[in-house]
Amino acid sequence: MTRIELLQGTLDLIVLQTLRWGPRHGYGIAQMIRAGSRNVLQVDTGSLYPALHRLERQGVIVADWSVSENNQRVRVYKLTAKGRKRLAAERSKWAQLTEAIQGIMAQPAEGET
């Protein structure tokens, strides 16, 4: 199965999207991305944690310590109001982008017919 590495901007968008359903810790986010993409998208810890800390610094997510279902101390992230706004903006940009790319891809290539 091919796994696709995510670009930084895309990763940010996906992380924010994941957090839309409620607070989550880093491992949970990674698992959710993997499950949600049916194992296609692979998130390195070396990309995930820098992204989380960067987003935290930008103020679009906040982190807090809490206790997980199996009684572990974990750091959970949740969206801020600013984060929701950013997510909305990024989503519409993403929609435009995919639409545009699909438009290009749908045109028959020269000499293909």
């Binding site: 880093g26 990674a30 390195d44 810890t45 070396g46 944690y49 610094r57 997980s68 101390r73 750091r75």
Partner: protein, 871 residues
Amino acid sequence: MRRDRELDEELRSHLRMAEQDRIARGEPPAVAAANALREFGNFGLVKEITREMWRGAWLDRWLNDLRFGVRMLRRSPGFAVMAILCLTVGIGANATVYGWVEGLLLRPYPAVAHEEQLLVLAGTRRGSTGYDEIAWPDFLDLARRCTLIETFIGDKITGVTLSIGDRAEVATGSIVSANYFDAIGVRPILGRGFLPGEDVGRNAHPVTVISYRLWQERFRGDPDIIGKKQSLNGVPFTIVGVAPPPFYGTFVGYPFQFWVPASMQGLLEGGDYKLEDRGAVWLEPFARLKPGVTREQAEGEIAGVMRQLEREYPTTNRGRSMVLLPLWRSPFNASGELLPTLRIALAVATFVLLIACANVGNLLLVRALGRRHELTVRLAIGAGRRRLVAQLLTESLILSALAAVGGCAVAYICRDVLSAIFSSFNGIVYRLPAEIDWRVLALSAGICTLSTLAFGLVPALLTSRIDLAGALRSGSASVVGGGRGSLVRSGMVLVQVALSFVLLVSVGLVVRSVARMRDADPGFATRDVVLTGFNLLAAGYDTVKATEFQDALLARVQALGGVQSAAFARIPPFSYATYGSAPVTFETYQPAPDEQATAQFNQVGPGYFATLGIPIVSGREFTRDDNGTSAHVAIVNETMVTRYWRGANPIGTRFKVKNEWVNVIGVAKDAKYESVREAPKPFFYLPLRQRFAGRFVVFLRTKLDPKQLATPVLRAVHAIDPLVAPASIITLREQMAITSASQRITVLLLAMFGGLALALAAVGLYGLMAYAVSQSSRELGLRMALGAKAADLLRLVMSQGLALTAAGVVVGAAGALALTSLMTDLLYQVSPRDPRAFGIAGAVMAAVAALACLGPALRAASADPLRVLRD
């Protein structure tokens, strides 16, 4: 740090959850842990790059580098101490010189409010390049007519005899305009400054402001000092104020003890009252411009006023004008004299710094070799080149920062060195302080940063270019040592040799110049003449009593055993006192329309020319009969005859000094009057008996030592008047040495810095050769095994070191040829390309280089081929 711990915990919880998930999926615990870790990746690296996202991460990183750097330096203290010492010498030399420049040239009067706005007002004369003092009436007219200048401040250094109780001593002070203290913003801590009008009226206001030091030392800080009398030159003055402690006057060179208003000039200086004389130039004033006015505008206005004055007073003001100069270009105090010296010192200090940087750069390169393993490992586990360079530069910065602190300490310790050296030359109290202010500190910090880049960047870049694979494969092969690295190291040593060669040449030139000056013929006898000074004004003498005193003294000293002849003069040659200067007019010489013929003169007594050994070319010298009742006479020098009599015999003709006709009775051979470096100039002598001076010197021609004469002369003086105190007896040579003090300072500074530079270069050369020998011990051993003798190896190493030195000398010689011409001002009858100075510098360089290479060469020659090959 809490944040670090939290990040650690966060990542660990991730690992644990991954592991638990795997166990839940049925993996055995040991396999699950291993797989989870593999999936996670490099734990440390993840942490590292996550941390990068934090705010202020760079500062954190840098603090880390700093801690690491300190640890690394503590691990090799020998290297650290050596490098810091080298840099301390370099930065210290610069900070010291900048301190002097600041304290003597740029900010000489820190107690004065807005000293940076002060300008020096100096007189000019058409057709002449130097600067003159200013006449008091001109000064007043300028103050009245100029609109662009806020204030004119009158100031003139003067010396007096100060008697307190039974003690008399010489003190230096200032004759100033009444606005002096208000204009410079110095507020007396006791009493007042001068009142408007106190500088008007002949000897009308005997009031004085004394210095804090004088108040403390001579009056024990007497709180009731205001209103008390103090005698200056025998004249009672009322003390009206005490200056604040940090105020030493507005003069570079001496600390001032008192200030008196200009109205007292005549009484203090003994004789001529110059306040109404437009021909007498003596004032050394300052000016402060109105806000927004440029120096050019103000100068233009002043020139305009001076042209008006030239029309109104053609006899005195023809060809005279004035300019405004920044403080550091003042011709009236020691700053002008120190300027060339400090300029050279600045250049030399820079050289020393460059040499020190080259040295430390080499040390760093050699050290990088020792750390090859550590650096390779760090690169291998993923440290970026940029990080490595940053780390190495941080270590360099630690070195130079410590050295900068040391350098500033050196500068602080050396702040009074110039005063001490000058004072030791002739026993006068000088004040030539360095000013270590924030500007000097900022400059040192700048030098520190620049030198870090200069010595640290190349080694850091070279080191970070390690060939990873190669370095890991072979443990010992030279990675930095070969090729580029060794070329860079040789290059740095070459630069050191070249720079120190330039310094050596400069030292040689200045030493030769001083020797030339010492041997130069000043036109009078410099041997077997001693002198001492008197100030009869201090003892309250008038003309008649003073002449009697002089006659009596002459009779007594001439009777002393061992004294061949004795004579008086107002001013001794080569002193800081200024000769009289007067406009002169001639019966036969017609000056050009805008020419004002002037000449300097001295008043001398009978027997002066015989005693000083100045030949009288024709006519006769003064006798006791040239006195107040006989016709006024003069002796002129040869240059004056050439210029104003066109070489015709002047004897029997007359010329006018100011408004008085004098007959020429003799022609004296040209001599040097103020310095051996001066050009021949018209000069004439008047009899002391026809132009009285209350302050004078007596010359004795004798083979005796001044020390042997001190007691008999003092006894002779006290037999006439116990209240007169002569200055100490010195030889004429010592008197001449006073004016060459700055030359000798230059020699001293250059010799000191040159020595430092030479030592640094020798250390650099030694380090390079020692390292090269230690690196090529295999090769040397092989050569020996193949039959080379010890002498061959010795020659091999020596020739390599000396070849490098020779290359450095060639480069240095080219540099010296270009640079030493900057010293022309300072050299007397020595060409800046003097072959002997270059030759001696080359010889010294070669000798030192040979010495530096000898150790490594001997080690190479004593290599044991068996052991080397076995290892």
